[in-house]
Amino acid sequence: MNEIALLIAATLASGTPLAVAGLGLLLNEKAGVLNLGAEGMMLVAAIAGFATALATGSDVLAFAAGAGAGALMAAVFALLVIGLNTNQYATGLALSLFGGGFSAFVGVSFVGKKLEDRVPFEVPGLADIPFIGPAFFKQHWMVYVAIALVLAMSWFLYRSRAGLVLRAVGESPESAHALGYPVRLIRFGAVLAGGALCGVAGAFLSVVYAPLWVEGLVAGRGWIALALTTFATWRPARVLLGAYLFGGVTMLQFALQGAGVEVSSQLLSMLPYLATIVVLALISRNPLWIRINMPASLGKPFHPGA
């Protein structure tokens, strides 16, 4: 019973960075920009957040540093993709490769250092309920913020005027441009905000989840977050659901090991990646469904008057 509560708690914690990064990428993609650089942005943000947390001891500052680092990386991407019309796939890949190298370079002096385990935020009243409390209400506060972010994103995209314009830019930039909206500026903003969210996710990994720095700490979560937007068929609430599903699969390997299942740890470590592939294949199987839901101009450059 107690183990199950801990498993649920761990699932929420490991799903949170995926959810936050997934939301950021969703925002990007709703504006029509596909950023394959998520992994690189998260890595650079992870080391920025870790260094800040080590220096100041403040989680808020660490997340802010992570968001700043993510946005800065995204700005480089946006300048190339939106300013110079470079290929979005290749530029995103470049961002990931650069982020991997840069974070390893900056992080060398931080390897082996460890932050103290974060004290969970106990939701007053609810945290004392047996089972429910330890499972859901003794978490780092960012876990709750992530859920709030999902609600905020849903509201922004589907209930606010700015969200409507953003979606229009992703569906038909030509029309949005003709109506007088600054398409490239909006895309730039969406990319920056997406980068900042990926940055928060990266900082969460190094400051709260791990809490330490090793080279390649993000371990493919940036790519899983990219896959999440497809799983979710570009819906914020489903991003959260998918993130917890993958958080659960990640935790399952430890649970199985704990239960004494006779499978080597390396084979169990494949689980999250295999699950990503399987779910991606199942969701993508219906091309019509994907085409209806995907922002129509995703990945396509837009240059007015060119």
Binding site: L95, G100, G101, E174, S175
Partner: protein, 376 residues
């Protein structure tokens, strides 16, 4: 303000010039970084761009590292020309090392021995099959399930790495290896023969150069290669001409998986002669940069694989001589790709200085007309 103006035709000069400009800018960036780190920039640059080619031994090491880069990048170039975004060459490389290494280990354990290098073709062939099979997983999922080849091929890298770890920590671990995660040393009959005595350079570089010629013929002289590239450049035109997109997908992925697998088997049977978790030091990812810097062209790939290999060696030298983190190589490689993509803009655009106020109406009018069309 600076303004980009579309050229009537892509500039041939710039398509060759842009990698050179990007390299020059990377060198400038590297100098600034050396200064910021308090190191002599001249010394730093010479470690990265001169010393790796200083003397026979050093040059042999550069060519040794250039071999897997060249092979992986050749395959990736075919993919990217066909607009198939395989970014999992690293995983296909690892699988090639596993299948090639597996055959070598099996021969070793059966006591099937012979002259040095006798069975290396068998090992390499197994590597090609392993790499191609791993790429085929991506092809099936793309073809049958419409799953993004970018994400699938990348996820398979992590799966392949864990599989390799499983083997060298588990069933394939050398019982006499002092508990290190490594296999037995392969029998000499499976090793790739040396090319230059006194160096680690093996015949793989010759195989790679032959493949360069083969790929040049395939891409520019064979109808199949032409079909593939039309599919990448203009899918609609390819459909009208009756070229099969499915066939292109499979061809591109199997070729590039096979090449990466070949590189993996070569690495195992060449310099390493055993399997460890670190068979690849990111060759599959570096090859993506090699591929773009080399303009997706076989000859360009030869040059860029040597360049990137020099940077890899430079990183090792910088670590031992200047105490710089080896990860600096990754920073330079990433910057090079970024700057290259930025400079590539010059191929299709001209940079113009414009002081006149922006004209809005002429650009807005056609778009408005288009909107009307959409609405009607």
């Amino acid at each position: 303000m600076l303004k980009l103006e579309a050229r009537p035709q892509p500039s041939k000069v710039m398509s060759l010039g842009s990698p050179l400009i990007a390299l020059a800018l990377t060198v400038v960036l590297a100098s600034l970084l050396f200064i910021a780190l308090g190191k002599d920039p001249v010394r730093g640059l010479s470690i990265f761009f001169v010393e790796p080619l200083n003397g026979l031994r050093a040059t042999a090491e550069v060519l040794l590292k250039a071999t897997p880069l060249m092979l992986c990048a050749l395959g990736l170039a075919v993919c990217y020309r066909a607009n198939v975004w395989n970014i999992g060459a690293e995983g296909q490389f690892l699988l090639g090392a596993i299948t090639g290494g597996g055959v070598a280990l099996w021969l070793t354990s059966q006591g099937i021995t012979g002259a040095r290098g006798l069975y290396s073709p068998l090992v390499l062939l197994a590597g090609v099959v392993g790499g191609a099979a791993w790429a085929a997983v991506t092809a099936v999922l793309r073809d049958r399930f419409n799953a993004s080849e970018i994400l699938v091929s990348l996820m398979l890298v992590y799966v392949a790495q864990q599989f390799l770890n499983f083997l060298v920590f588990g069933p394939w671990k050398d019982p006499m290896g002092f508990n290190f995660p490594q296999t037995k040393t392969f029998d000499a009959s499976t090793w790739l023969p040396q090319l230059l005595p006194g160096t680690r350079l093996h015949w793989g570089i010759v195989v790679a150069l032959v493949m360069v010629a083969v790929f040049w013929v395939f891409l520019f002289r064979l109808y199949r290669g032409y079909q593939l590239q039309v599919g990448g450049l203009a899918p609609a035109a390819a459909r009208y001409a009756g070229f099969s997109a499915r066939k292109s997908l499979w061809t591109a992925l199997l070729i590039s998986g096979g090449m990466a697998g070949l590189a993996g088997a070569m690495e195992a049977a060449g310099p390493l002669r055993q399997l460890t978790p670190h068979v690849s030091t990111g060759y599959g990812f570096t090859a993506i940069i090699v591929c773009f810097v080399g303009r997706l062209h076989p000859v360009g790939i030869v040059l860029s694989s040597v360049l990137l290999s020099m940077m890899l060696i430079g990183g090792e030298l910088g670590q031992s001589r200047l105490g710089l983190p080896n990860a600096l190589t990754g920073v330079f490689q990433g910057s090079l790709l970024f700057l290259l993509l930025a400079c590539d803009t010059l191929i299709t655009y001209r940079v113009k200085w414009r002081s006149a106020p922006r004209a809005v109406a002429p650009t807005a009018a056609p778009a408005a007309a288009q909107l009307k069309e959409v609405q009607s």
